[in-house]
């Protein structure tokens, strides 16, 4: 009996393989992304934990830092056994691309709290010298530096030469870090008076959480106390939305895989109906049949998942090797090696893949178990089997719930309900698909030649198998279309946004992540006085904590006319000038959403000096800073923060002065413009930004393409199977006098009809889903809005290619089915 089973199954190998591949893809993506993110998050929080050493608590400030006076106060507290002040930042090194993390330490204090990070000098006083640097072995290897060498660190517009005085022997393997004396770091970063953090070791018997609570109440706004691990988690939270979105993408491919299993299993159960009926007649109980069919699906799932786990690990390893753990997301980076996966996470994905496959074969299994064996043995009974699948109620219910879910707010900052709505929308549509197909077919006029009329008649009478075969295609097309529309909308909005935010002729950017780079007042005056410069604006970027529960937001202090900000900021709200005695503050959409601020609200900024109160004067769109940004007048900032350095200059040339000439003047004026200081024209900046965008989405594109390919392969497979199953019908038609060409025409017209319907439905669903992605998912996860933009031409081409390949498959399968042996098949039974 089982022999018969396996032989029946073996004939469906090709399609089963596709199901396995689909499940494998989903699992591989999910698992790969999980692994990479594990590495990235681990590295990020490990880095934070490592940098804080054995501290019981860490008091951290915003990027700008906490006032250094706080250090003395903390160190003097009786609960504090030792306090280690640090100033942390990133530097550029001459001759080495990229940024390098640098830590300024007080070796005396660090010895008690973070002894691991204290360098081992050959000469003790080197720990205190301003021109000495200690590097971790990993960094030494990376830089090709031995401990006798020198490194040139960017400071302002110049370089400062530091001698490598020794290694940080206690560094973890792979840890990249430069360590200098804390005073040297303040000088290097021009951040006198500020610290990044003070790490505390508590006196024996002091409860860290309890003390942290008491301490927090006394700390100035923006300064936070917590365990070092919590700081790492706060860092990781920044990338959570991105991570979740990638995971959802992986789940989507699993979902598609499940649908493919459903198609395969439904059609295979259909094709094997007489065999299954025979098994029932021979005495197999209905329940065992159910279990057998389910087990078949689950078996495909296990196989696919196992392959997927392997592929996912390889994928992650390859991506890690090629791009680092950030997966194209700039805010995540890491260079660690991929650890062996945790058994439980592999198990979770194995179960997910298997569950998807088992769920996909549930309906066919139930059908197989429910059939009446006597009738099923007779030919022509297939239609009855699919009848229950056409009940409209579950599908309609799913759609209704989807609409309801869309009205719900995000869950824990993530658009979980919106994703659920998308899943239900797809599921409901797929459940309704056969019925919708039947309705559409009934609506079509029965014109055309004999082949067309025959194929229409065939489809009208038996839309079930065609509808089943379409499920995976509709799902993958819908997701691909929605993704394409979302990405295109995003890209288009980004391009427009770049036009608005990059009005000047030339940009001099220094502080992009590297803390040692800035323009001091002298450099600013020199730039403003250049003969070719008509106008110059300076910008200071720093970070500031708005409250204790959220990561710091970027603060942009800009020179701009605060009476007409619309011309300089992409405002999505109107501009409401602040009242007399108030300062205007412009918040990005992220800040508006996350901090629940609206135009007109008063905001207290944790700047060193108190000044006039701030009032939200407008909300602007910001694609550049995922963690939110504030814009305020630089003069106000300089007064309140005592910081007149700038990290960016925007220059407008006098009439007749080209950007190139302007750039030459700037170079000459600054003389020592470091090669890594960016002097860019807006065109370059725009194309760079868009390139960055494309790189970020490259992974997304690749995943989508893979999902589409599988969906298409699934459609082709089921098409081919359906065509081959109709051999005897073709043979009869040939006997009755239909020409081969006519049979093929019948086939292709039917395929065109069904596939066209599937593509149209998929496209429609995709547009709906893209609306959800643009207006709900993106808004809820990243807190930025965008204008909907549909790439019609691209979509049309994409759909045409899909239709073309479906037709080609049908034609190919038809030719196979119409081979010489077809005539004999009328005598087979």
């Amino acid at each position: 009996m089982l022999g018969l089973w396996w032989r029946g199954l073996a004939s469906l190998r090709a399609r089963s393989l596709l199901s396995v591949a689909a499940i494998a893809l989903g699992v591989a993506l999910g698992f790969g992304v999980q692994l990479l993110h594990g590495v990235a998050v681990e590295e990020m929080s490990l880095a934070v934990v490592r940098l804080s050493g054995d501290a019981d608590l860490s008091v951290t400030g915003p990027r700008m830092g906490l006032p250094e006076g706080l250090y003395g106060r903390l160190a003097a507290l009786p609960e504090v056994a030792a306090a280690s002040p640090v100033l942390q930042g990133e530097v550029r090194l001459q001759g080495h691309p990229g940024h390098f993390p640098l830590l300024g330490l007080d070796a005396f204090q660090a010895q008690a709290v973070q002894p691991r990070l204290v360098g081992r000098p050959r000469e003790r006083l080197d720990l205190l010298r301003g021109d000495r640097v200690f590097i971790t072995p990993a960094l030494a290897a990376e830089l090709g530096e031995h401990t006798e060498g020198t490194l040139r660190l960017q400071q302002g517009l110049a370089y400062r030469e530091l001698r490598v005085a020794g290694e940080i022997a206690g560094a973890a393997p792979g840890e990249r870090l430069l360590v200098v004396d804390i005073a040297a770091a303040q000088q290097l970063f021009h951040r006198f008076g500020y610290l990044s953090a003070v790490h505390l070791r508590l006196a024996p018997g002091v409860s860290a959480p309890e003390f942290a609570r008491r301490l927090q109440a006394e700390l100035p706004p923006g300064v936070e106390v917590g365990s070092p691990a919590a700081a790492g988690q706060r860092q990781a939270a920044l990338s959570r939305a991105y991570r979740v979105n990638l995971q959802v993408l992986a789940l989507v491919s699993l979902f598609t895989g499940g649908l493919l299993v459903f198609s395969t299993q439904a059609l295979s159960v259909l094709a094997r109906r007489p065999q299954l009926a025979l098994l029932r007649v021979l005495g197999l109980p209905a329940k065992r049949l159910l279990v057998l069919v389910l087990a078949e699906g689950a078996g495909l799932g296990v196989l696919g998942s196992a392959l997927g786990l392997l592929a996912g690990w390889l994928l992650a390893a390859a991506l890690l090797w090629r791009f680092g753990a950030g997966l194209g997301n700039a805010s995540l980076s890491g260079t660690g090696s991929l650890p062996w996966p945790e058994p439980w996470s592999a198990l979770v994905f194995l179960l997910l893949g298997t569950a998807a496959a088992a769920a996909g074969s549930l309906a066919p299994a139930l059908e197989a178990a429910r059939m009446e064996p006597g009738r099923a043995l007779k030919a022509g009974d297939e239609q009855r089997m699919l009848a229950p699948l056409q009940h409209p109620l579950p599908g309609l219910a799913a759609l209704a719930v989807a609409v309801l879910l869309l009205t719900l707010p995000p869950l824990g900052g993530l658009p979980i309900f919106a994703y659920a709505a998308i899943a239900l929308l797809l599921l409901g549509s797929i459940v309704l698909l056969p019925r919708a197909l039947a309705a559409t077919l009934a609506f079509l006029p029965g014109h055309g030649g004999v082949p067309e009329r025959l194929s229409l008649a065939q489809l009208r009478a038996a839309p079930g198998p065609a509808g089943i075969g379409l499920a995976a295609l509709v799902a993958s097309v819908a997701l691909a279309v929605s993704m394409a529309v979302m990405v295109d909308s995003f890209r288009d909005s980004l391009a427009e946004w770049l036009e608005v935010v990059l009005p000047a002729d030339l940009y001099l950017r220094l502080g992009e992540g590297a803390d040692g780079s800035f323009l001091d007042s002298l450099a600013q005056r020199r730039l403003a006085g250049l003969p070719g410069v008509a106008r110059v604006e300076f910008l200071r970027t720093t970070q500031i904590l708005l409250d204790h529960t959220h990561p710091p937001v970027t603060l942009l202090a800009r020179d701009f006319p605060s009476d007409r900000p619309q011309a300089h900021l992409p405002l999505v709200s109107g501009f409401t000038p602040p009242g007399p005695g108030e300062q205007a503050l412009f918040i990005s959409e992220y800040v508006a959403d996350v901090f629940a601020l609206r135009v007109g609200d008063r905001v207290k900024l944790p700047l060193p000096l108190a000044g006039l109160p701030f009032r939200v004067a407008g909300v602007w769109r910001d694609y550049a800073r995922q963690g939110g940004a504030l814009v305020l007048d630089r003069a106000v900032y300089a007064r309140l923060a005592g910081d007149t350095d700038a990290t960016e200059a925007r220059l407008w040339g006098r009439p007749g002065v080209s950007a190139a000439l302007l750039a030459a003047q700037v170079r000459e004026c600054l003389g020592s413009l470091p090669s890594q200081g960016e002097l860019v024209e807006p065109g370059e900046l725009r194309s760079f930004s868009l390139r960055l965008f494309d790189r970020t989405f490259a992974v997304t594109y690749a995943l989508e393409a893979a999902a589409i390919l599988i969906g298409l392969a699934g459609l082709s497979g089921s098409l081919a199977a359906q065509v081959l199953a109709r051999r005897r019908e073709f043979a009869l038609l040939r006997h009755l006098g239909l020409r081969r060409g006519q049979v093929l025409r019948m086939l292709t017209s039917g395929t065109a009809l069904v596939t066209g319907f599937g593509l149209a439905l998929g496209c429609l669903l995709g547009l709906l889903v893209s609306l959800i992605l643009v207006h709900v998912v993106n808004r809820q996860s990243f807190h930025w809005s965008m204008d909907l933009h549909v790439p019609w031409a691209g979509l049309a081409l994409f759909l045409a290619v899909l239709l073309g390949s479906a037709l080609a498959t049908a034609a190919w399968a038809g030719r196979q089915a119409l081979g010489r042996e077809v005539l004999r098949s009328v005598r087979e039974d």
Partner: protein
């Protein structure tokens, strides 16, 4: 007592910093000269004393602050610039314990936890401090194994060492320091050990010394002694030894019960070893029992306990003996003092 400074001085390569030399002729002015003299390379405030608890047991206490101008990052406006470093050292000697309880602190001066005043005696390092408050000196140190909290009331005037505070330390004229002592300080306060705090009282001695160039290059160590004599007098003696065991320089001063002070030339100071003790930990040998002789005074010195060795090789790389000694004068109790024996671990190799 000076060994840690010695370490720093020896360790330092030539620096392009101008340290003012110590020249005779200037006069000490107070309270200004109680405070720090940051232009000089090195400076210390050295408090040692003998106290007794309610049980009548004799204990040695010590709290020292050192300041060092490193010459590093002096042009860096950062408050963290390590131009001035502060070190502190606290110890308790208890014969019942059998060895010293000691702890050290160090920090750069300027930010928060490490400050030193230039106006009066007021030096703070991470909760440890020594300061003058009116006519009273306050000293506090809270270490992990013990803490001390003392009020010191002067019972005698300041004793300017050398020639009105100009104290020569070697054959070259510039090898000198500014140096005054404040002997016969009446001590009241509490000591805390193992969570038990006891009220103590006794007598202490404060040294304050600053200099830019102190030691002869041939020096490997020195012996120093400060004794509060029971008759109200005070004796300070030191000798600087070279590598071959010979004496490079010596000096001292004795203020007798009547208040007249006699300053000694190198040839007038004699140290005689009476007994040596070998440390079971380091195998080093220290002359823990000495006879010192100056014109008009002979004292037999006996340690409170033999093991008052300080092994700080792990942190500052130094090792020396410093402890409370009982001074016998003609077989009678003559007073209590502190004896420092450095450079017995061979030439310091850093």
């Amino acid at each position: 007592m000076l060994l840690m400074i010695l370490v720093l001085l020896l360790a330092r390569p030539a620096l392009a910093v101008d340290f003012p030399p110590v020249r005779p002729g200037a006069a000490l002015t107070f309270p200004r000269d109680h405070g720090a003299h940051p232009a000089y390379r090195t400076e210390w405030w050295y408090l040692t004393g003998m106290v007794e608890g309610p049980d009548g047991r004799t204990l040695g206490v010590q709290l020292t602050f050192f300041r060092s101008r490193t010459g590093l990052q002096e042009d860096n406006p950062s408050a963290f610039a390590p131009a001035q470093l502060l070190f502190a050292h606290a110890a308790i000697a208890d014969a019942a314990t059998g060895r010293l309880l000691a702890e050290q602190r160090s920090a750069r001066a300027g930010v928060g936890l490490a400050q030193v005043s230039q106006a009066d005696l007021d030096v703070t390092l991470g909760g440890w401090f020594l300061r003058r408050s009116g006519q009273v000196l306050l000293a506090r140190a809270q270490a992990q194994a013990f803490s001390l909290d003392l009020q010191l009331v002067p019972a005698a005037p300041l004793l300017a060492q050398g020639r009105a505070g100009f104290s020569r330390k070697g054959p070259v004229l510039t090898q000198a320091s500014w140096y005054y002592s404040w002997p016969q300080l009446t001590v009241r306060g509490t000591l805390q050990r193992a969570g038990r705090s006891v009220a103590v009282e006794g007598r202490a001695w404060l040294d304050h010394e600053w200099s830019s160039a102190l030691l002869d290059p041939r020096a490997v160590g020195w012996d120093w002694l400060g004794v509060n004599l029971v008759d109200g007098g005070a004796l300070m003696l030191f000798q600087i030894r070279s590598g071959d065991g010979s004496r490079l320089w010596a000096g001292g001063a004795w203020r007798d019960a009547g208040g007249s002070t006699r300053v000694f030339q190198p040839g007038e100071v004699e140290f005689t070893v009476r007994r040596r003790w070998r440390s079971p930990r380091t195998r080093l040998e220290y002359p823990v029992a000495l006879r010192v002789r100056v014109p008009g005074l002979v004292l037999e010195l006996q340690p409170l306990m033999d093991d008052q060795e300080l092994d700080a090789r792990a942190s500052t790389g130094t090792i020396y003996w410093e402890g409370l000694v009982r001074a016998l004068r003609q077989g009678q109790a003559g007073g209590w003092g502190y004896l420092e024996l450095t450079g017995y671990g061979g030439r310091l190799n850093l």
